[in-house]
Symmetry: D2
Subunit: 222 residues, 4 copies
């Protein structure tokens, strides 16, 4: 089943009340088109969004630390208490050390949270997959926030990531991201072997968020 | 007015439902003893605690970034949307770069959040105070989580911090922390010239959190 | 006395043998124009350059750690053993935590190395100066590597830094940097109250490094 | 062929002149016992040690950045210019982000430097091996600097690492480390399937460094 993960980042159009409205749009489209949409709002917004919608809510980041003297860290336990069911890990804008990624995956696994580890190329995709998260999401950093979709600009990184993961840990899913905006981008991403996309600005900064998301989803179904 | 800041860290006894109960205890004691108590829970718990109590709720950390491509960061805007009214910055367990501290203070000021910058010695207290947060909180790292109060183990770092701040930025308040558990510790901290304390494990890990907090507050009033 | 600090960064034109040649050019110009030039090559190049020239050689970075289990860190002791007499600290491309800056200054002081702490605006200049390094060097990050000199693009950040340091720690010198290339840029920097400049690409990437450095120095003397 | 890597860390007994003496001891023992010993001194000491001995000299850390605006970073090019032939990467005391590890390995490969990526458990060993360094070196952090050898305290992490690497990238060598001091520790490490050890304090802090190293090597030959 195709998976769309909408990363709210810290955009004004996806913070506080606006984040709740955007999550509701995602839920509507998800129901209407029978497509799985996960929203990833800011940590402080998670609880309000969990109360507002029934689609899965993921954190944008989780630290691999447990209970104790870890002031300012984001624990899997606190995310779960707020109602999140998963987390992005190692996004290009919040890179982690190798040992931290492994600890974050382990902490999520122990708490029952799903994990999507972001990577920047085939080599790091292999490394991330070898630690057995639920998904890896490969995103060439230079395309993030651009309007050039990875599926067009660098199809080989997607294909190569899919192949590498199949060999090393076939149970791990592969997403791709960076520059994804339109239905054809999503379609191309699926044709390259990925199971879905991670996207952000293309939808969030659109004049009409609902229309943009609808176009993306509908376009991919054509 | 004496200020007590209770840092919930990521302790199990201060996460999720337990965090709400602990905040309610703090509110009770605050009302009963007419003392200002600020609670600093995990980011994901802020909104639920803001809904449960009327005492101020601070974040344990805030990043100095604004709206945009800052996945996984904690913005002042998101904290405010969740109902927080301030934040710790640069806690010993979540140290920041100098430019980040300055940006965090600026972001909080622009958003109307209060700031408490944590420091580890007199030199860094001077530096932190020079950036004009609302408070600095000096905590010798080796005493954090110990049962040896800074006010007894190293009174000079408190006195020296108070003196340094008075010279450099008299409008900035001085708190101290590390090893504070009992009323006499708080009392000693105030006598050294600080306006209050930052504390954590002494209360949170106590068998009876309410009794521990009551002893702290009552002891200081004697 | 005017001070010019040439930061070699990791430019190809300032690595290995090329670094030695560039340091020799700096020494020639320093002698010819009776101006103080400090070279700051990569750590691994320090010893060879110290053997080749007699002008001061600084490191680009030093960690505030001592002897012990600190694999991969740059200690003041190792820099001194290699013949360096000072170090940049907290350069915009190698930012440090507040407590690390303080520890680096302390380590250098204890070892007899001079310190230049880099900052990005007036507020961080104040904070850095309050920790009493030998110099602060204010460099607006957006101008670093550009051809727009800070002395023209943002004279107020230089003036404001000079004023702030005079008030808070008059014994600390003020340098400025970012976009400095020509003699007039240096001249303007001095007129704004700074004691010298920190520069890099303008000289290192010049077709003729010697001529570029000569123009800078000669222009400032006019 | 058994490989011994001696990490000088920042110990006083392995800095500056003392580092040269220690490297000479390593060379003597290497020749006498026909065993491969690599020394990993501080970056600023590399050139002097390369001039003094003919055994391989590795850096303790290398950044995955190239030529350009990377002040304070350690480039593969600068290490090579100083005569190093390899580098540790991601040591437990200098952990790197996943993307940085990959970039460091790529930079070393492009420059002709060998790579030893340090890891903390089987999962991160798998991830590191999947990026194809020359070696991975697994070191449980809690045993580093202790006198409890990993080969005794946690033989499964060594065995498990050897197995995992054989499956995922059989061309990558496996070292182990943490608490290795005596010949029997080295012997046990080899019997568990590793090709050698990474060690530090056991030799460097010994009253008689030569005797300690001799005991290690001789003991393993028995």
């Amino acid at each position: 089943m195709t998976l769309i993960v909408l990363n709210f980042k810290t955009y004004r159009e996806a913070t506080g009340q606006a984040a709740i409205r955007l999550a509701e749009i995602c839920e509507d489209i998800s129901n209407e088109y029978s497509i799985k949409i996960i929203v990833a709002p800011q940590i402080a917004d998670i609880r309000a969004i969990v109360e507002a919608v029934e689609i899965p809510v993921y954190a944008q980041h989780v630290d691999g630390v447990g209970h104790g003297g870890f002031t300012g860290h984001i624990t899997a336990a606190s995310l779960q208490a707020a109602g999140a069911t998963g987390s992005l890990i190692n996004h290009s804008e919040r890179r982690l050390k190798l040992a931290e990624i492994e600890a974050s995956i382990a902490a999520c696994r122990a708490t029952g949270l799903s994990t999507i580890v972001c990577t920047n190329n085939i080599a790091t995709t292999r490394a991330a997959a070898s630690m057995r998260p639920d998904f890896v999401a490969v995103e060439p950093p230079e395309l993030i926030g651009s309007s050039i979709p990875v599926s067009k600009a660098d199809p080989d990184v997607v294909r190569g990531s899919v192949d590498a993961v199949k060999k090393i840990e076939p149970g791990v899913g592969v997403l791709c991201g960076a520059g994804i905006t339109h239905g054809e981008d999503l379609k191309a991403a699926l044709e390259l072997g990925s199971e879905g996309v991670l996207l952000a600005s293309g939808i969030i900064k659109a004049k009409d968020q609902r229309k943009a998301l609808e176009d993306l989803v509908a376009g991919a179904k054509r």
